[in-house]
C-alpha cells in the first residue's frame, strides 16, 4: 500500500465520527440521486413508450405541407392575376392513387404500413346517439401497425375481417350503450345515411376518451359509409426503430408529396417539456450531492488543520507537495468510493421499494406500479457526479495542505 494511502486511511479512521457523517451524506446523496433519477427517467420512458406504442410512428395525411404553386403564380410571380370561368374539379378528398403510394412506402426498409380512411359518424342505439371517429382499416395490416389487437377484451380484428358489417368499439362506448358482442347498432354518416352494423370486437386501452370515441370497421365499408370510394386519407406507419421516425418521414414526404408527420414532430412540445424536466431534475439531485460534498470538505479541512504539525514533519522528512495533496485527495476518494458504494446499494433498495408501490390513479380501474428506470447509465452518472463532488471538495483542503510551509509551522510549534 502506498505510504500516502496508508496515512490517508489512518487519518480517516482517527476521525471516525466525521468520516461516518461524510460517508452518510454521500450515500444518501447518491441514493436519492438514483431514486429520483430512476423515477423521473422511468416516468419519461413510460410516457414515451405509451406515446410511441399507442400512436403511429409516422402518419401520412392527405394534405400538403406547403400548397402547390399554381401555374399562374409561376408565370406572373409579382402580378395579381384573375382567372375567370374556371371551376375546380369535383373530387372526394383523400390520398390519390393510394395503392401505388402504399407500395412505394412499403419498399422502404424497416417499416410496416396500413391505409386508413378516417372520418366521423354518429352511432344510434336504443334512442341514444353518440358521435364517434370511424376508421376504415384492413385488419391484417392494422395488426402490424397498431396495438389495438392487444387491447381487445372481446372479439378480434380477424372477426372484423370475416364480417363485412362488423364494427369494433371501445369498452367505454359499449358501456354507454349497454352493448355486447354480437349486438347491432346503427351507424349514421352525413354522406351515405344509415347502416346497421354488428359489434365484432370490444377494446379497452385505459384511455377513457379513446375508448368512447374510436371505432373501427373494414376499409371498404368505411369507403361506402363516408362516400369515398377507393380513397384513404391516412397511412399509418410503424417502424422497427421508432427513433428513425423523423428521417423516414422526411423520405416519405419527399417521395410521395403528402405530409408525413413523425411522432417526434407531433410531440415536439412534450419532448421539450421532458428535456426541461430532466434538466431540472438532475440539477436538484446534483445539488444534494454538492451539499453532501461539503461534509467531505469539512472533514478533510478539519484533518488538515489538526494535522498541520504532521504535515510539517512529513515535509521536513522529504514528502513533496504532491505527496501531501495525494494524502488528502486519497481521503476524498475513499469517502467518495465507500459513500457511493453504500449509496448505490441504498439507492437500489429505494428503487426496489418504489417499484413495489401500487397506485390507482383517478380514472384508471387497474392498479399500476410506479415506473422505475433500471438503466445502468444512471448508476454511472450518480457515481461519476459523486466522485467529482468528493474530489472537488477534497482538492481545496488538499491544496492548502500542500502549500503549507514546514518552517512556518515549526517556528510556531509548541
Amino acid at each position: 500500500m502506498p505510504v500516502q494511502l496508508e496515512i490517508a486511511l489512518t487519518h480517516l479512521l482517527r476521525h471516525r465520527r466525521s468520516t461516518l457523517v461524510s460517508l452518510t451524506g454521500i450515500a444518501l446523496g447518491v441514493a436519492f440521486f438514483l431514486a429520483v433519477s430512476a423515477l423521473m427517467r422511468g416516468s419519461e420512458q413510460d410516457f414515451l413508450r405509451r406515446l410511441v406504442d399507442n400512436n403511429p410512428h409516422i402518419t401520412v395525411f392527405d394534405q400538403y405541407r406547403a400548397p402547390h404553386v399554381q401555374p399562374a403564380q409561376l408565370r406572373w410571380p409579382d402580378a395579381l392575376v384573375a382567372v375567370s370561368n374556371v371551376k375546380p374539379q369535383a373530387e372526394s378528398r383523400g390520398i390519390r392513387g393510394y395503392r401505388g403510394k402504399l407500395e412505394d412506402i412499403e419498399a422502404l426498409p424497416g417499416l410496416r404500413v396500413a391505409p386508413v380512411l378516417h372520418g366521423s359518424a354518429v352511432l344510434t342505439f336504443a334512442g341514444q346517439q353518440h358521435g364517434v371517429s370511424l376508421s376504415g382499416v384492413v385488419p391484417q395490416r392494422m395488426k402490424a401497425v397498431s396495438t389495438i389487437e392487444q387491447h381487445m377484451v372481446a372479439g378480434s380484428l380477424d372477426e372484423l375481417a370475416a364480417t363485412p358489417n362488423g364494427l369494433i368499439i371501445g369498452q367505454g362506448l359499449a358501456d354507454k350503450f349497454g352493448l355486447r358482442m354480437g349486438g347491432t347498432i346503427n351507424v349514421v354518416s352525413t354522406e351515405a345515411g344509415s347502416r346497421t352494423m354488428k359489434v365484432v370486437g370490444i377494446f379497452r386501452t385505459g384511455n377513457a376518451a379513446y375508448d368512447e370515441l374510436e371505432t373501427f370497421t373494414l376499409l371498404k365499408r368505411a369507403q361506402v359509409l363516408l362516400q369515398r370510394p377507393n380513397r384513404v386519407n391516412r397511412f399509418i406507419i410503424q417502424l422497427t426503430d421508432p427513433h428513425r421516425a423523423r428521417d423516414v418521414a422526411a423520405v416519405i414526404e419527399h417521395g410521395i408529396g403528402y405530409k408525413a408527420v413523425s411522432w417526434i414532430e407531433a410531440s415536439e412540445d412534450l419532448l421539450s417539456v421532458l428535456l426541461v424536466r430532466n434538466i431540472i431534475m438532475y440539477s436538484v439531485v446534483s445539488a444534494i450531492l454538492v451539499v453532501a460534498s461539503f461534509g467531505i470538505y469539512n472533514t478533510i479541512f478539519t484533518i488538515v488543520v489538526e494535522k498541520t504539525r504532521d504535515i510539517a514533519i512529513l515535509k521536513s522528512m522529504g514528502f513533496r507537495r504532491a505527496d501531501m495533496r495525494q494524502i488528502f485527495l486519497w481521503q476524498g476518494l475513499i469517502i467518495g468510493l465507500l459513500g457511493s458504494a453504500a449509496g448505490l446499494l441504498l439507492g437500489y433498495g429505494l428503487m426496489r421499494a418504489l417499484a413495489a408501490i401500487e397506485l390507482k390513479p383517478p380514472g384508471v380501474s387497474e392498479l399500476v406500479h410506479l415506473p422505475v428506470w433500471w438503466g445502468a447509465d444512471q448508476y454511472l452518472l450518480a457515481l461519476g457526479f459523486a466522485m467529482v463532488s468528493c474530489l472537488g471538495a477534497a482538492y481545496l483542503p488538499a491544496d492548502k495542505a500542500s502549500r503549507l510551509r514546514p518552517v512556518d509551522i515549526l517556528r510556531g510549534a509548541t
Partner: protein
C-alpha cells in the same frame, strides 16, 4: 577536503509589517563526521539558520551547498528529494506521527524513498530501534512512551535513510536530565561513528559534547564565543 555542508554568506529576512533579519550574512563549513552545536540566546536566529542548512527554508541571499551541490537553484520538489535522501531531522517536540506505531514512524522515510524493500526496511528500522534500546517498544504508540524514549525514536527515524547529515533543533529542550544525557550520548556516539550532526541548543552541558560550538547573536556568528557571561 570538501565540507559536507557549506553556507556562503547566507541571509534570511522576514517580511511583514515589522521586517526582521533572522540570519545575517552567515558563512559556515561543516566537515564530514563533525558534531557542531549552534548556540545563542532566544531570537538569535539559531533555528532559522538550522532550517536554512536543512533545506527547509530558502535564503534571501547567499547559498547552501550540500555535499558539493549548490542547492540555491533547486525547486521545492528537488529540495524535498534532498531532505528525504540526505538529511535527517530531530525536533524539540519529537514530532512523531501519533497514529502510527514506533516502528511505522521509523519506517516512514524509508517507505517514501523506496530504496529498500519493505522487509529490508522493517529490518533496518528494527536495527535502529535496537541501537537506541527501543526495539521492545516497536509496536507501541508514541503516546505510550516517555519524552526521552520518543526522542530516541525520532533520532532512529532521522537515521532511517542513512543521511549525510543529522540536523537537530533543541533535541533536549523538552527532556529531563537523564534523558538529556542519553540523547547527548547518542548524538556523540553517532558523530564518533562518522555521522555528521548539526544541533541547535541552549544547553551548554549538551553543547559540551560537540566538536565545535558556533555562537549566534542577532543572526550573526560571533567568532570569539559568547558575548555574555
Amino acid at each position: 577536503m570538501t565540507p559536507i555542508l557549506r553556507a556562503e554568506r547566507v541571509t534570511r529576512r522576514l517580511g511583514g509589517e515589522v521586517p526582521a533579519i533572522l540570519v545575517d550574512d552567515v558563512s559556515l563549513d561543516v566537515a564530514r563526521g563533525e558534531f557542531i552545536c549552534i548556540m545563542g540566546p532566544s531570537g538569535s536566529g539559531k533555528s532559522s539558520l538550522l532550517y536554512l542548512l536543512g533545506l527547509l527554508d530558502v535564503p534571501d541571499a547567499g547559498s547552501v551547498w550540500l555535499d558539493g551541490d549548490d542547492t540555491t537553484r533547486c525547486n521545492d520538489d528537488q529540495l524535498a528529494a534532498l531532505r528525504l535522501s540526505r538529511l535527517g531531522f530531530v525536533f524539540q517536540f519529537h514530532f512523531l506521527l501519533a497514529e502510527f506505531t514506533v516502528l511505522q514512524n521509523v519506517m516512514l522515510p524509508m517507505r517514501r524513498l523506496g530504496r529498500r524493500q519493505p522487509e529490508a526496511a522493517r529490518e533496518h528500522a528494527m536495527h535502529l530501534l535496537d541501537q537506541f534500546g527501543m526495539a521492545a517498544h516497536a509496536a507501541k504508540m508514541p503516546a505510550q512512551l516517555s519524552g526521552g524514549q520518543r526522542q530516541r525514536v525520532a533520532i532512529a527515524r532521522a537515521l532511517a535513510n542513512d543521511p549525510l547529515l543529522i540536523l537537530a533543533d533543541e533535541p533536549t529542550g523538552n527532556l529531563d536530565t537523564a534523558a538529556t544525557l542519553n540523547v547527548r550520548q547518542i548524538l556523540r556516539g553517532l558523530a564518533d561513528a562518522g555521522q555528521t550532526v548539526v544541533a541547535v541548543t541552549h544547553d551548554t552541558g549538551f553543547a559540551g559534547a560537540a566538536d565545535r560550538r558556533i555562537w549566534l547573536v542577532d543572526g550573526k556568528i560571533v567568532p570569539d564565543g559568547p558575548p555574555f557571561p
